[in-house]
């Protein structure tokens, strides 16, 4: 009989902070510039250049730490981590080893198994590395230092997770918290949130941890779930065959759905950390911590309660909308404009989510302005357009962020409320469909549906359906 195993997982999550400038210099952090357009002697590691700490980085790190129930380290400093690689122009990364800014926190996650706390070991600040592009043809590597010096926080959890489901719940919780703080957009596919998975297995009932591996290159929640499943099975197979798990860093290939050991850096683990001499210590006062605390936003649980109370949204709708900061902001802005929160919620919960799913998008990718959704609702409420046309116009808003009032006018989509015009159209339809008219008059009430449909078709969908029904009944 095969033995039963338990998976033990801890996470190292890197998050790129949403500052305008890098952590130690005044270069822009804007994404997608020409190679090396956002560099200076500091972030390109030129000799003699000196780093100066970006205050906003400290405040974001503190805000995330406080949200994750960490204690803030009052006397804090930076350390040098030494290694040689072309993505790192200084041959050291400025990080925090001995006195990280936040320690001993926890976040609560919820899975099908219920609620559980995942402990946070620490959160530290550090700088990102540059990007290497491998030039196959030229047999060389090209280095772009635009990302070099972009501020990161690394959130290190304790090995408290036991399944992929818990890992995803933890990451979603962190992402939501950080997005609510505005500290990062946390996009896994663009690398502004990166998770390294430390995983080991042990027999159920055994207390000692097994040997762990670290998995890198996980760019989506799906990839993380697949990598965890795969690595768990790989380690169990090794143990079942009487072999040993080797402590190593592995790289996940999501296309081929397998991982391989990265070139073993036998001596690279000796980073020879030492206190960073170019930066003075950071002393965080009680007042500063209090100030950051007082600026913390309304987080999801409170926002959800408020939506139910203030706007009368059902629990489920409130939960989905507050599940994304972007969606919640959109909701509140549109509701404030049109004063119809329930209608806004319906458009978000219905058509918006449908289109997001259809196009494999995240709520953060929504481009339309809240004002355009608000206008659409006003047009519908005023009876200027009917429900069918509204859906059509909404797709346009979703795709191109058009102004619905202008669009409806230009495309001639306004509902026809003119009784005379409708009457003429209906008379024509009745003339063309004598059989249906006959059926209705003989008591087959369903036939009216067909006649309404034909009238709508004749009016190119722009007729007011209520009026069509009313006039038809009169004429029949």
């Amino acid at each position: 009989m095969s033995r039963e195993y338990e998976t033990v997982i801890g996470l190292e999550v890197h998050v790129e902070l949403a500052t305008k400038t890098k952590i130690f210099c005044g270069c822009s952090t804007a994404f997608g510039g020409a190679p090396n357009a956002h560099t200076c002697p500091v972030c390109a590691g030129m000799p003699g250049s000196l780093p100066v700490l970006n205050k906003q980085v400290v405040e974001y790190a503190m805000a995330v730490g406080l949200a994750a129930n960490c204690s803030i380290t009052r006397h804090c400093k930076f350390d040098r981590k030494n290694y040689f690689y072309p993505d790192n122009p200084q041959n050291y990364q400025i990080s925090q080893l001995y006195l990280p800014i936040c320690r001993d926190g926890s976040v609560e996650i919820e899975t099908s198994a219920g609620k559980k706390a995942v402990r946070i070991h620490e959160i530290h600040m550090e700088e990102d590395a540059g990007k290497l592009i491998h030039d196959e043809r030229g047999d060389c590597s090209l280095v772009d230092y635009n990302r070099s010096g972009v501020p990161l926080i690394e959130i290190v959890s304790e090995p408290d997770m036991r399944s992929a489901e818990e890992v995803i719940a933890y990451l979603e919780k962190l992402r939501m918290m950080i997005q609510y703080l505005g500290a990062s957009d946390c996009k896994l596919n663009e690398g502004s949130m990166r998770a390294d998975v430390n995983l080991s297995v042990r027999e159920v009932g055994v207390e000692a941890f097994g040997t762990r591996t670290e998995m890198k290159n996980l760019n989506s929640f799906k990839a993380i779930a697949r990598a965890i499943e795969n690595e768990k099975n790989r380690q169990i197979d090794l143990l079942e065959e009487g072999k040993k798990v080797i402590q190593e860093t592995r790289r996940w290939d999501d296309l081929k759905e397998y991982s391989y050991a990265m070139r073993s850096k036998e001596d690279a683990q000796d980073y020879r950390y030492f206190p960073e001499p170019d930066l003075v210590p950071l002393v965080i006062s009680e007042e500063w911590v209090e100030e950051i605390k007082s600026r913390q936003p309304e987080f999801q649980p409170e926002k959800m309660e408020r939506y139910k109370r203030e706007y009368g949204l059902p629990e489920y709708d409130a939960q989905i909308i507050t599940g994304s900061k972007h969606l919640a902001d959109l909701f509140e802005a549109a509701a404030a404009l049109c004063k119809k929160p329930k209608k806004v919620s319906n458009w978000l919960m219905g058509e918006t989510i449908r289109l997001l799913k259809e196009q494999d998008m995240e709520p953060e990718d929504i481009r339309f302005a809240p004002a355009n959704l608000a206008k659409l609702i006003e047009l519908t409420e005023a009876g200027s357009i009917n429900g069918t046309v509204a859906k059509e116009v909404f797709e346009k808003i979703f795709e191109e962020d058009i102004d619905p009032a202008v669009y409806v006018e230009k495309q001639g989509l306004k509902t026809v409320n003119d009784a005379g015009e409708l009457r003429n159209a209906i008379l024509q339809v009745m003339k063309d469909n004598p059989k249906s008219v006959e059926d209705y008059r003989n008591g087959k009430e369903k036939a009216i549906g067909f006649l309404v449909g034909q009238t709508m078709k004749a009016m190119k969908g722009k007729a007011n359906p209520g009026m069509v029904n009313k006039i038809l009944k009169e004429l029949l």
Partner: protein
Amino acid sequence: MGELEKKQGKHIISDETIEYVGILAKLELSLEEKEHAKKDMEEMLDYIDKLNELDTAGTEPMSHVFPVNNVFREDVVTNGNDRENMLKNAPEVKDGSYQAPKTVE
């Protein structure tokens, strides 16, 4: 790296240690340079031993030599695109990037 070796109270840097330190620092040392570096490191470690004789109980560890804390920048972009000048420092340039020997994962 194991325990530091000592002979008659003095530090001894082994051949393996100097080789390892050379690899970490990406230095290729000649035999002569190695001997010289060994001697320097031994003297440094002996000096640390000397410092360790001092009674530092009750002294706060010093995190920096300057008595200054909290030097910050505001989060405002001050640098523009100075790529042309920056790349003048590069030994080799290609497509607006620094050209480095091929790195493989």
